[in-house]
């Protein structure tokens, strides 16, 4: 699929090819400007694609000659700002997408129960806390039993401690209701915590997709590798000091926390001198000089000084 808003600025979605399996939770991970919101809006029918096609549950909903409007696509969306209708009660908000009256009452209660807010039906959105608003937004999106649920950065307005709590709660509800979900986030931790599969977007392209484990262990480039935390790039000369002979045409890297200190059993070890060791919360961040005078940064469980034996497991070396 391709989409551009302004020909001068190039394509916002630059040839994305993606499949989402039914009943799975897929994360779209990317920085702002990576195209994840635009992709979600294209899927929902809030934007028109320039070219490419979109198939939803076996039905073609958009290509260059056909366009099914959003109201006919049965896609639920939880917006970043929740977009609750301020002039309607919680009940009216949740029941908004339901057609028949009898069904409405039953289903509204059902989803309010699901999100655990059955007592708040008569309140107005402004009388709810941020977390409650979010759960109502989820209940409203789930009520009409959508074919796909899109969550656009739902945690960006919440503070960190509340977020972790809500995150597990929210996705538990999503798993329970067996809906296919597409979760947009810029936070790697969020993505790996909740999804079956992570799709990493950069400049409107999918640069890698797979399970969180696969992305962590076999990143295809530096950018993906660094998503999970800082890495140390090493070249063939650096690695030769660790007793490793490698192809000099490739790039190598190691996660800062994959170094081990004073473990003589490791095959790849080198004597390094510590320049600085600073306390950084759970760990110490060290600056060290390799024998070839290159400075690297790595983490350790305790403060280091002088000269140490630094090593790593061979299979933790990342190759691009």
């Amino acid at each position: 699929m391709i989409k551009s808003f302004n020909p001068k600025d190039g394509n916002v979605i630059d040839g994305i090819d993606l499949q989402i399996e039914a009943c799975s939770v897929v994360s779209l991970l990317g920085e702002s400007g990576s195209g994840k919101t635009t992709l979600a809006r294209l899927i929902a029918g809030l934007e028109v694609p320039d070219s490419g096609e979109l198939i939803l549950d076996g039905t073609l909903v958009a290509n260059s000659s056909k366009f099914v409007p959003p109201q006919q696509r049965k896609i639920g969306m939880v917006f970043q700002d929740y977009a609750l209708f301020p002039h309607m009660t919680v009940m009216d908000n949740v029941g908004y997408g339901l057609a028949s009256r009898q069904k409405k009452e039953f289903r509204v209660l059902e989803v309010l129960n699901l999100v655990g807010l059955e007592d708040l039906g008569h309140r107005y959105p402004h009388q709810l806390s941020g977390g409650q608003q979010q759960r109502i937004a989820l209940a409203r999106a789930l009520a009409p039993e959508p074919k796909l649920l899109v969550l656009d950065e739902p945690f960006s307005n919440l503070d960190a401690s509340l977020k972790r709590h809500l995150r597990s709660e929210l996705f538990q509800i999503i798993r329970e209701s067996k809906v296919t979900a597409l979760f947009l986030t810029h936070d790697t931790q969020d993505a790996i915590a909740v999804s079956d599969r992570v799709v990493v977007l950069q400049n409107g392209r999918v640069i890698q997709q797979g399970t969180a484990k696969a992305l962590y262990e076999r990143p295809t480039n530096r950018y993906i590798a660094a998503l999970f935390g800082p890495i140390v790039e090493l070249n063939a000369d650096d690695l030769s000091h660790f007793n490793l002979e490698v192809d000099p045409s490739k790039t190598y890297a190691l996660r800062q926390n994959h170094f081990e200190v004073d473990n003589e059993k490791l095959k790849s070890i080198a004597q390094v001198s510590i320049k600085e060791s600073t306390h950084a919360g759970h760990f110490y961040l060290n600056q060290a000089l390799l024998p070839n005078k290159k400075t690297i940064q790595f983490t350790s469980g305790r403060a280091l000084k002088d000269s140490v034996l630094l090593g790593f497991e061979g299979n933790s070396l990342l190759v691009f």
């Binding site: 020909p7 929902a44 029918g45 809030l46 028109v48 320039d50 070219s51 260059s64 000659s65 056909k66 366009f67 409007p69 959003p70 109201q71 006919q72 696509r73 049965k74 896609i75 639920g76 969306m77 917006f79 970043q80 700002d81 977009a83 209708f85 301020p86 002039h87 908004y96 997408g97 057609a99 409203r140 999106a141 009409p144």
Partner: protein, 541 residues
């Protein structure tokens, strides 16, 4: 870039409706331009060699003079009320807007009286030993237009002083710059694009004015159009003058665009930091008081005083059943036209949005076009196509055996209301678009994703949430229509009268004192929304 397939895919009923709407709004302009092909009237060459230069020069001098004095009156007063704390500041904050409730032609009549023999100001002058001032001339008109139009500059400046420069002023003074230096090096250059926006409104009103210029005997392009149309009865000549006036407006609009475009840094400087007001010394307080009082005194108090004085001597004669009928007609027409205007404004905002064709998305901008067209020009632009349609209708009537002689559009309320809608689209458009933007897109998008179609979404979500915006837009348009003169003069049905026209007629029939009642009625009508909207505005901030 154009892909026929996707254009076909994205063309739906909203696209067609958008195109129709664009046609509806631009028809008068195209009619005018089309008419220029049939050449000017017979006195054109005479006009060209004699008075056209004077017309244009006078219009330009009025624009320059009024711009200068509007800035002098509007910018310092805005600075005073937004930065300083002094007694009466709260009242002055909105009193400074109040002159807008008096149409400039009415201010002009009032001052003609104030400076006339035996007039209050001329007697005061005599007492002080100042020789009698004749103000029925170009400098006099500049004075009138400045004191009645400066609030546009004041409002634009106040908004920018209040909201936009807080952090920068702090930064500048932290860097050690003295107050005056900050003012001239940081604040004014930063505020200028917005102030120019207000100034552009002043300029458009100056070019639109007919009543004041006519009474003060200043020949402008606008009075020229009237002369060509009514006295010379040469529509083609009026069309040519209109096009010249339109080009003049275009120059100023482009100038404003250009200066705004080249200073886009304005936007990055937005901040919510409100500065602490300055508590001035006693002498400064007097200065601040004069800066804010003088515009109110000249722009509002003097003219209203004069009108009330006249009302005292004439009300027995003028407060007749005839007055009531005119007042009712005036309110009725303004009500009908303002409701329709707001309706069309909503269409102009929403049709291009609802349509998926990228090509048509920008057509919302057309809404602001009407305000740039001087009333007289627009009136002629409306007259041309409606006359043509009437002609076709008559022909159709004859050929089907009828003997109808009535014009269906021209000289009826339809043509008048059509012109009002186009002219005042911009007035309602700004507040409506602002509240629509504040609402954000996600609410209506949510509604659509929950299965409601475009119209259901519009009526269930947008309309209830835009109520306040719609109402304030309606009020603003209503008042502007009540005040409107040049367009109404040309297009009004023969047997219908408005208060504005009545005031004008009294004044041109040398019954200027009698114009007090209709004039004051218009002012009172105008005061209601100013009081009301100011409250809304204050609540907002």
């Amino acid at each position: 870039m154009f892909n026929l397939k996707t254009i076909k895919r994205d063309t739906d009923k909203w696209s067609w409706l958008t195109v129709l709407l664009v046609g509806f709004v631009t028809l008068p302009i195209f009619a005018l331009l089309f008419k220029t092909f049939s050449g000017p009237g017979e006195s054109w060459s005479h006009l060209l060699s004699t008075v056209l230069g004077t017309y244009t020069l006078n219009s330009l001098l009025l624009v320059l003079g009024t711009s200068f004095f509007s800035l002098v009156l509007g910018v310092p007063s805005a600075w005073a009320v937004s930065r300083y704390h002094f007694p009466g500041k709260k009242i002055f904050e909105w009193l400074l807007i109040v002159p807008l409730t008096i149409p400039s032609y009415i201010t002009a009549y009032a001052y003609a009286g104030l400076f006339d023999y035996g007039g209050t100001l001329s007697r005061m002058g005599h007492f002080l030993g100042v020789p009698k001032l004749d103000i029925l001339n170009l400098p006099g008109l500049v004075f009138i237009l400045s004191i009645s139009l400066y609030p546009y500059v004041y409002m634009a400046s106040r908004a920018v002083f209040l909201y936009q420069s807080g952090r920068l002023i702090e930064a500048s003074s932290l860097l050690g710059a003295k107050g005056i230096k900050t003012l001239f090096r940081v604040i004014l250059p930063m505020a200028w694009p917005a102030i120019f926006g207000g100034l552009l409104l002043v300029i458009m009103e100056v070019l639109n004015d007919y009543g004041a210029a006519k009474y003060y005997g200043v020949n402008t392009l606008t009075t020229g159009i009237f002369r060509a149309w009514f006295a010379l009865e040469e529509p083609n000549t009026a069309v040519f003058l209109s096009v010249i006036l339109l080009l003049l407006v275009l120059v100023f609009v482009l100038l404003e665009r250009w200066q705004r475009g080249s200073r886009s840094y304005q936007m990055t400087a937005k901040s919510n930091i409100r500065l602490q007001p300055i508590y001035p010394s006693k002498t400064t307080k007097w200065w601040l008081f004069s800066i804010t009082f003088v515009p109110v005194l000249f722009g509002f108090l003097f003219p209203v005083f004069q009108l009330l004085k006249w009302l005292g001597t004439t009300w027995e004669k003028t407060a007749s059943s005839n007055y009531l009928i005119i007042a009712f007609q005036s309110v009725g027409i303004a009500l009908l036209a303002s409701v329709l205007t707001i309706l069309v404004t909503l269409l102009v905002i929403y049709f291009p949005k609802w349509n998926r064709l990228k090509l048509l998305k920008g057509s919302t901008k057309l809404a602001t076009l009407g305000y740039a067209i001087p009333g007289a020009v627009l009136a002629i632009g409306v007259m041309l196509p409606t006359l043509q349609i009437d002609r076709w209708l008559l022909l159709a009537n004859y050929s089907s055996g009828g003997n109808g002689t009535i014009l269906l559009l021209n000289g009826t309320i339809i043509a008048l209301v059509y012109a009002y809608i186009i002219r005042f689209l911009a007035v309602g458009f700004k507040p409506l678009q602002a509240s629509q933007l504040k609402l954000g897109a996600s609410l209506s998008e949510s509604s659509k994703l929950l299965g409601k179609n475009t119209l259901q979404t519009f009526f269930k979500i947008e309309v209830p949430l835009l109520k306040t915006g719609i109402f304030s837009a309606l009020l603003l348009v209503f008042v502007d229509i009540m005040k409107e003169l040049p367009l109404t003069l040309i297009l009004k049905p023969y047997d219908v009268n408005t208060l504005a026209v009545k005031a004008y007629e009294f004044a041109s029939d040398e019954l200027i004192m009698e114009s007090a009642l209709p004039s004051l009625t218009i002012i009172v009508a105008g005061l209601i929304p100013v009081l009301f909207l100011n409250k809304l505005l204050l609540n907002d901030s």
